[in-house]
């Protein structure tokens, strides 16, 4: 069987600089899935874009050939004219991008944007194209294709938009689909469903797939062939099974070691002690009022979280897990006093055991200042959470200046000390953030949060913007700091595998409610709630023998009223949290 796509000796560079992709070779056979794996900066995205020549203007293909050999003929994609290339894009080779939120034009209807492919390449009329697109929409899982056709992107969820992108890529029946991190921006349950969909469509149509990803779990679930890239070169390539079971190249091994995994558990864990609680949240709810756009309709109340009870013991880590919109960030903001809970909710913070707590939900100015010295935050995106116009030293000493602690020299020394603590060096103080990599920036954010010697640090998805190997380092750093300084963490994440590693207790949230709460060992050993089961099942494992169980995912990932009777809840009827075994609570009807 001859290859559908042949990439030979491909080198790509920017301007006059050295090549960012060097001597890349691979073949894609018809109907086969090839995974391009690597971390940011590995050149995987540039390589896959070179196939369709969608490159930044300053990038040039320096050498090599890319040969497409499908049923419509053979052509060298590096040599064809721009006009011929346009006939290939979206027709013989399609592409799906990473961010479904931004990959569709906000001002055009979905149907219009998808049909356009057929207008361009098949010359179909509007009504003919509409018919075909509606069939395709049904195929990719739109419950109401007609409605989706006339919707604007902002009216759909992320998962639905990615389905629309897939429909757009598939509607012309290409023989090769290039998917550039198609699920990275999606929630884990949505990711599982979208991956399942792509696989199914592939089986039906027999198209080949180039899947670009950094996630070995996704690779294990999808790929037959794997190409591991690092710094623009191929490290290892070949069939998926041997590479995933016994990687030969040290870099591949390193990637595997860094990939977080949900461990197999064979026993329940120890519940979090409750004798020395640093943070207590009691009956915390938050409702927002959405002003109705029509004057005659009543304003709508939306709850971001409802009846949240959480305890965090001193020196421990409490993790809140959930998809976007589950209320986990709202809960964290309330814990930090950045937002007030609805009346009745209480947030208590104790600086030392058996002292009078600070009532975070009701602080005076002086109390707030004292509280802020004790509770700090590390943010998700290290690229936007550091001001690009401030030297590291200024960014780090700013909290001390605000709280008027120490002289300038003392502040400087403290900053230098903290930098060393997080594994950087004091001579970096004079630099600006742009001189640092993503991982280093996140270290800086941690160091800045530590400047006031806080007892509690709220980490809002601190690793989700980072590569796996860097994520590993940051998690190790957080663990080390906790050990030496007896820090307490409130850890927000959507990734169960990360949480499995760092948390002492996990609260799973869905639609503003905690649905299950337990130590991570218990949670993975004996998950009870369908949504928790779905989250665990949807986690892609870098193990080729443990594929995602889509049935479990679809059982738990749907709306709460699609769950088993025992767990079902609606706006009006909400079961309470029931303690099934010590330290293991599930929201169900008994």
């Amino acid at each position: 069987m001859s290859a559908l796509l042949c990439v030979r000796d491909l080198s790509i560079g920017f301007g006059a600089g050295s090549s960012v992709v060097t001597d890349v070779n691979f073949d894609v056979k018809p109907g086969e899935t090839l995974a391009l794996v690597g971390e940011s900066g590995s050149g995987k995205t540039i390589t896959c874009r070179a196939v369709l020549r969608i490159l930044p203007r300053t990038a040039q293909i320096r050498s090599g050939t890319i040969t497409l050999n499908d049923s419509k003929g053979t052509c060298n994609l590096t040599a064809v004219t721009e006009r011929e290339m346009r006939g290939i894009r979206g027709n013989r080779v399609s592409m799906i991008f990473q961010e479904p939120m931004r990959s569709l034009s906000p001002l055009h209807k979905i149907g219009n944007q998808v049909s356009e492919v057929l207008w361009l390449h098949r010359g179909l009329s509007e009504s003919e194209a509409r018919k075909k697109v509606l069939t395709q929409f049904e195929r990719v899982g739109f419950p109401d294709p007609q409605r989706a056709y006339d919707s604007y992107p902002f009216e759909l969820s992320g998962g639905m938009r990615q389905r629309a992108m897939i429909a757009m890529a598939m509607v012309s029946k290409p023989e090769l689909l290039i998917a550039d991190e198609p699920t990275t921006a999606l929630d884990v349950t949505t990711q599982a469903q979208v991956l399942g969909l792509i696989k199914e469509l592939q089986r039906e149509t027999g198209m080949a797939l180039i899947l670009v990803t950094h996630d070995l779990g996704v690779v294990a679930n999808m790929a037959e062939q794997v190409v591991v890239m690092h710094k623009g070169r191929i490290m290892e390539a070949g069939p998926a099974a041997p590479i995933l079971t016994s990687p030969a190249h040290p870099y591949t091994k390193q990637l595997f070691d860094a990939a977080p995994e949900i461990p197999d558990q064979d026993a329940v864990g120890i519940p979090m002690p409750d004798d020395d609680l640093i943070l207590q949240m009691k009956g915390v709810s938050k409702t927002y009022t959405m002003r109705s756009s029509k004057g005659w309709q009543a304003d709508k109340e939306i709850y971001a979280c409802k009846g949240v009870d959480l305890n965090l013991a001193r020196g421990k880590t409490l993790a809140i897990v959930g998809e976007s919109g589950s209320g986990k960030t709202t809960a964290a903001r309330i814990a930090l006093g950045a937002e007030l809970p609805d009346p009745g909710g209480e947030v208590l913070f104790r600086t030392a055991p058996n002292t009078d707590p600070i009532t975070v939900h009701n602080m005076t100015r002086a109390q707030r200042t004292a509280f802020q010295r004790n509770a700090q935050m590390v943010f998700q995106d290290p690229y936007s959470s550091l001001s690009p116009r401030m030297r590291i030293q200024d960014a780090m000493t700013e909290p001390l200046e605000i709280h008027r602690i120490g002289t300038t020299a003392e502040q400087r020394d403290k900053a230098a000390e903290m930098l060393q603590r997080v594994g950087l060096t004091a001579d970096m103080l004079k630099r600006y953030p742009h001189a640092f990599s993503g991982g280093q920036r996140q270290r800086l954010s941690v160091a800045r949060a530590m400047m006031l010697d806080p007892q509690l640090i709220v980490c809002d998805e601190p690793t989700s913007a980072l590569d796996v190997s860097v994520q590993e380092q940051i998690l190790t750093l957080l663990e080390k700091l906790q050990e030496s300084l007896n820090l307490s963490y409130l850890f927000i994440s959507h990734d169960l595998a990360v949480v499995a590693r760092i948390a002492d207790e996990v609260a799973v949230m869905r639609r503003g409610l905690i649905v299950e709460q337990a130590p991570p060992e218990t949670l993975f050993y004996n998950p009870r709630h369908p949504y928790t089961k779905a989250l665990i099942a949807a986690q892609p494992e870098p193990d080729i023998n443990r594929p995602i169980d889509l049935k479990v995912v679809s059982l738990g990932a749907g709306a709460p009223d699609s769950w088993d009777e025992a767990f079902r809840f609606s706006d009006t009827v909400i079961p309470s949290l029931v303690e099934l075994e010590p330290g293991h609570k599930v929201r169900c009807h008994v």
């Binding site: 369709l52 969608i54 346009r86 006939g87 290939i88 894009r89 979206g90 027709n91 399609s94 592409m95 991008f97 990473q98 961010e99 931004r102 990959s103 569709l104 034009s105 906000p106 001002l107 055009h108 944007q113 356009e116 492919v117 361009l120 390449h121 604007y152 902002f154 009216e155 759909l156 992108m165 757009m168 959405m290 002003r291 109705s292 756009s293 029509k294």
Partner: protein, 342 residues
């Protein structure tokens, strides 16, 4: 349906704003001490011409200038009966110009719609020039096309309008036999509209349009270019390329459509800046627009005349913003469907 309701709503808010503006205008005009007539009376008394004084006193009573301010305002608008019953702006009586000793409506008459014509032409010119140039400059950014258009644009921004006007008049007349000054040949002035008159006006419009429009056009072009560049980096542009669209069609369908919003929103701001910016140009070019008249009226404290002209400019501005708001709602579904159930 949504559109119609919005348009009606927007129209009423415009009327309300206009009312507020009228109060402000009236207050501002009356802020300097004295008025045209009291100045004149003082002058006449100093020179001992008592007959004139009697006439001025008569005019004061005739135009209710001896009444309290709030009453004067209401009479001016037409909400309150004056010496001759209800006779204000809303009844179509624009007041009396003391300086020219004629009714305001007679003085402004022709210049009103000539102002509208000149400024509309300038705005059309701005859009016609800025739209293609801005798009091309963005699509070919950092090439000689971009640099050339930016250079010409900044030249347009930096050259004083009246200077540009004089230069254009000279060369326009010398090489293309364009007329100098005015908005029509003298024989058409005061004549009813005819084909020849329209033709004459159009020819006379060429230079003023160019002069008033250039700076606006180059500013707008740079703004559009910046917006387009922002949009060109967005992922949906990549999606469109990956579909196999030709560059020109892709540019106009996707990024331009998004970058167009600020462009439309500018309509409202353009009108007043054009009108006020064209005053000097109108004086230099001898255009019979409202600008020079406004200048005289303000200098001599001719209150009814200046108040009326200011109201007229305010009305133009408000209509401009209303049009741009309604267009925005038509163009952008995100605004239109805000809060619609998903």
């Amino acid at each position: 349906m949504v559109m119609l309701r919005y348009a009606v709503y927007r129209f009423f808010t415009m009327l309300l704003t206009l009312l507020v503006v009228s109060v402000l205008i009236f207050i501002i005009i009356n802020l300097p001490p004295g008025d045209y007539l009291s100045n004149q009376i003082a002058e006449l008394q100093a020179s001992g011409q008592s007959a004139g004084v009697a006439k001025a006193e008569f005019l004061r009573a005739e135009y209710a200038l001896d009444r309290p301010m709030w009453e004067q305002y209401l009479i001016w608008i037409g909400f309150w009966p004056g010496p001759h019953g209800f006779s204000g702006l809303i009844q179509g009586n624009y007041g009396w110009s003391f300086e020219f000793d004629r009714p305001v409506s007679e003085i402004v008459g022709d210049t009103l719609w000539l102002t509208v014509v000149v400024n509309l032409a300038a705005i059309l010119f701005v859009y016609a020039v800025a739209l293609p140039l801005g798009v091309i400059a963005a699509a070919r950014s950092r090439t000689w096309i971009d640099y050339t258009s930016a250079f010409v644009g900044y030249l347009g921004l930096a050259t004083p309008n009246f200077l540009l006007a004089l230069i254009l008049f000279y060369y326009g007349h010398r090489y293309f036999n364009l007329p100098i000054g005015g908005l029509m040949d003298p024989q058409f002035e005061g004549q009813p509209l005819s084909w020849d008159k329209i033709k004459s006006i159009l020819i006379h419009l060429i230079v003023p349009t160019f002069v008033i429009g250039t700076s606006g056009a180059s500013a707008m072009m740079q703004r559009l270019r910046a917006n387009m560049l922002d949009e060109l980096g967005k992922p949906y542009v990549e999606t469109a390329i990956a579909k196999g669209m030709a560059p020109s069609r892709m540019l106009t369908k996707y990024p331009l459509r998004v970058a167009f919003n600020p462009f439309v929103a500018d309509i409202g701001n353009l009108l007043p800046s054009m009108v006020s910016g064209s005053v000097l140009v109108s004086v230099v070019l001898g255009l019979q627009t409202i600008g020079p008249t406004l200048l005289t009226a303000l200098k001599t404290q001719d209150q009814f005349l200046s108040a009326f002209i200011l109201m007229f400019v305010a009305l133009l501005t408000l209509i401009g913003t209303m049009i741009s708001d309604i267009l925005l709602v038509m163009l952008d579904p995100r605004i239109r469907y805000e809060g619609r159930e998903a």
